[in-house]
Symmetry: C3
Subunit: 430 residues, 3 copies
């Protein structure tokens, strides 16, 4: 950083080490040349990110971040943030490049500041799983009691190779060599704190909406590269969900590609666009916090008639050591917890301790689409020895899973499954 403040530069990063042990794991037996359906236990580097950020002449700033563990499990390798931002005024800024869609309270929060280890099912399914980091142009306005963000974004930064593409199965292939124009979206979120005594007592509310155009590319003879369970180069879009696990993020629910069948063939369908909506609320009152969201995705296209997916969740959390949830003004979402006393070996401090519990529901069955539906509960115990280390423990318990009628063998194998897992995550960020 220069002395006049015209040039600043910083490096940041995060590591999350996760483990999963499945103590209830009753699924349908696999048949034929299929692998068993049971969820698997194990350990993973959930995220390992490094980034740089800096400022030129106080008003231009930039950020680049890379996640080195993407692609190891079931999310993609790759770039997250990569943008140039111009701060027109103190609250108002415009950015160009790759950045997160402005959508949903839980998605807007950094994964470093989540209450549970994984995001809730509908947030993952509708926003995070299809790679929420998309390339385009966005504008933000943020003051302590009000925030909005709008963006025009295109398909997410794709994987390095088709071989490592396992998320957004049908949507993020490389877009050249005749694969069609990129999909694009207009999206926005507006939030505020209508009641606010101080930073430890407030009510946050907000709404999000987005319209996404999807590209489906047929071959010259009218056929398409994608089947119900395939990830070919023909575009389209799929939605899937997993039950809050962190190491084995198998898609228990799966719509399959929503563009299916040769052009004009009987029973063929083609997704042309989808519309997403979200409503969010969050109450903080001292050490107590309550958060809930409702999300809905409508499908538009040939062979569809009002199909829509829905999900919602709610949870309560409480700091045994008296801290409060913290607020990130620019994001309108959760922020870093600062323990009242750091942990010390001599017992003069124990860090912060937090308990949490909640309910989560998602339904990917609608009209002609049989993606399945599921609901579950989860419980958490979080330890924050100091501001930059966090150790989380979760128990997940699936209440009901209904995948009857799914044409995908792996998804069908989870019909009426009994699933419960013990998860841990150790996190350091800097």
């Amino acid at each position: 950083a220069s002395k006049d403040g015209n040039f600043t530069f910083a490096i940041n990063g995060r590591m999350q080490v996760g483990s999963q042990y499945n103590f209830i794991n009753d699924v349908l037996p696999a048949t034929g040349a299929n692998l068993p359906n049971e969820l698997n236990s194990g350990v993973t580097l959930r995220r390992a990110r490094l980034g740089v950020e800096g400022t030129f002449y106080k008003i231009w700033d930039y950020k680049f971040e890379y996640d080195f563990s993407r692609g190891n499990g079931s999310v993609e390798s790759g770039i997250t943030d990569a943008f140039l931002r111009m701060n027109v005024t103190k609250p108002f800024s415009v950015k160009v490049g790759s950045f997160k869609e402005p959508f949903s309270l839980e998605e807007a929060a950094s994964n470093r500041f989540l209450t549970f280890i994984e995001r809730h099912m509908s947030v993952n399914s509708f926003v995070d799983n299809p790679n929420t980091y998309k390339t385009g142009i966005g504008a933000n306005y943020a003051v302590p009691r009000f925030q909005f963000g709008v963006a025009f974004q295109t398909e997410p930064v794709g994987a390095w190779s088709a071989a490592s593409t396992t998320v957004n199965a049908a949507g993020n292939n490389s877009r050249n060599n005749g694969s069609g124009d990129q999909g694009w979206e207009g999206i926005g979120r507006i939030t505020g704190r209508p009641w606010m005594e101080d930073e430890t007592k407030f009510l946050h509310v907000g709404i999000s909406a987005g319209h996404t155009h999807v590209n489906t590319q047929y071959l010259a003879n009218g056929t398409i590269n994608v089947g119900p369970n395939q990830t070919g180069g023909g575009g389209g879009m799929a939605f899937f969900a997993f039950p809050g696990t962190n190491v084995d993020r198998t898609n228990v629910l799966n719509t399959g590609n929503l563009s299916i069948g040769n052009k004009g063939a009987p029973g063929s369908r083609r997704i042309d666009s989808y519309d997403r909506f979200g409503a969010e609320s969050w109450l903080v009152h001292g050490p107590f916090s309550a958060q809930a969201e409702y999300l809905r995705t409508n499908i538009n296209g040939q062979g569809y008639d009002g199909e829509h997916f829905t999900g919602y969740y709610g949870f309560l959390s409480y700091f045994l050591t008296g801290e409060s949830k913290a607020y990130h003004v620019r994001n309108g979402a959760a922020n870093r917890i600062k323990p009242k006393q750091n942990f010390q070996w001599n017992g003069s401090g124990w860090g912060a301790w937090e308990i949490a519990g909640g309910y989560d529901y998602i339904n990917l069955n609608s009209g002609v689409v049989r993606g399945g539906k599921m609901d579950m509960v989860r419980f958490g115990l979080n330890w924050y020895p100091h501001t930059h280390v966090k150790i989380q423990n979760n128990i997940t318990y699936v209440l009901n899973v209904d995948t009857s009628g799914s044409p995908i063998p792996r998804t069908a194998g989870f019909n009426n499954a009994d699933l419960s897992s013990f998860l841990t995550q150790v996190q350091v960020d800097f």
Copy 2:
């Protein structure tokens, strides 16, 4: 950096966000099980690079740079610079590792300092596309009015996996497990400024030459893994060209692999080496600049008899705000533009503004090779709000494209195509 200057260290990086909209896009219709031939519109992270560099005991320096966006479009993932350099005297240095070939004025310039968004067709086809960052040993001598570089280099640093190899289709696969000895080359460039009043008024001229040995590996039974349009593990070499676009860099021209057919079979060919030559000139006179290059590649091998590819380009540029093109002495090429006045919201400065226009020609048809030929014009408007941000706009217009006789369906689909695109690029570097 230590106080005695024996240890220095720095981090640098660049991000380029590009967009492409094809407003003229008339190509031949695709047939059968092929994707449409049209170019596609979209947005991409054209480059996202981070690097480190430093010095030990003043005479040893090192550099490592990685491009995180390679492989996303149609260039490879990977390492660019990765070398250790010993500065024997102030002008003379020797380096070992991965570094750019010393060849061509436009290739020698950093992509941060190009006048147009993309390099010209022959520079891309003969130098940049086959991954100009090769591993070997090189020597450089540079004083303000004279510069030369020579190198002995081997095949470029390959992709992480065969699946992400889309450039230098036949040449940069991993070289082990029986795929044959690596190819190698001797290459050099010599430039000078015979007329020079000051750093804003000078004439630069130079020549480049290189001999590259290519490895082609047959199977024990005399067959080969590569076909005219394939990227198997059998080595060989291909050249291709795209019409100045940045998001969809589809190979409109394509020679196919120049090693084709079983050993000794009728009609089989095998490239054994190729020779490249370049001549360059660049005149800077205050805000006015004129640059031109001529490149030629000769093919040697069985089944070839004097086949050669040629290309040339020329363009003019002018700074409306009075700046001059800047000169990088060590590279003998373009350098960073410093606006006379930085952009300010209050209107006290508008940064630097530059206009440019030029012509570009390439011919990959010669003797038995039907790679096609193409010429085009392009126009540019560049804004430099300050030294480290650059915003570029280009219009590309293809005059003629002739791919008649190409055995590759996608390339043949561009015969007599009408193509014109509007491109933008936002760049920040640090």
Copy 3:
């Protein structure tokens, strides 16, 4: 770094540029649709790593390191260290994340501080090749004359995609979507310096042991995805070895997957676990050093009855310029060499010069397993111009290689081969 020392941060890295020329290369001729068996000459970026490390509140530290050149040759792309460590007392620490297994003297040494360019065959085959960086929890205790490390670790951090997996062929595929629970291991190493006059005169001895559980996953119908020479998603484990080369690290010896054949079929086998043992000794006496290790791996599982692989090596080294080998207390292994006088162009110093020679043996034939056996000698000349640059030259000469009876064509092609190579490596680290 903050002034109170509560926050520190550093960046480190290394680059190694290697070359290999095979001057004796007599192997069996390949037949049919196979590539030739000869080893290949070439140049490679052997390693290119960047890392960050730092400390919070003096007792918490973290490290993250990435090797950008993995996957280019025959080792994997990826993460090496990625852990959070808590320093409970000065000698005692606990860490969570991805870190090196505590096993073997030569493996414990950083590859920056090896005497020869490559590790010895049994260390590579049993420890380094299957990716020694595994994810789990470990504890270390180290004082100058005594050190131990124990760990509970799981399968290594896998490649980005199946396409780039070339090491631990059968063991490190992504562990989800029904591929079974991760394998795990308990492992430890204990070393000491029973005789020690000072840091230039000492005897180091130590032992290592580990038990590794291997996962093999059958399809529902009892078939398995893996064949003798395949890297399918069915798990299992293979061991292989290469003769000390650095660019073409072709697996001259190869056991093939030790889980083979359908469940219960005649001749089918399944590895359930393996046990590794190591004994090490190292004498340093001024400029003279002598090092030797013995390693053994026992195979357990269905169809196995006491099969075991063994290897050992020994070498001598001598500093012509009078330096001594250096000792890393925490690792109980080799450390950075500091020349008595740095190299200077004016001849006032020549850096450090070291010569070395040794013998290396490995046997992967045992019972039903025909992996082959090999022994070789190697000679080295190392130049250290200063502490952070090292230039190595090796000659490798294979004495005997016996791959008779191998079912793998490439491995069988090396039976009774005559192989000798000249290798170089230029290294800079910072």
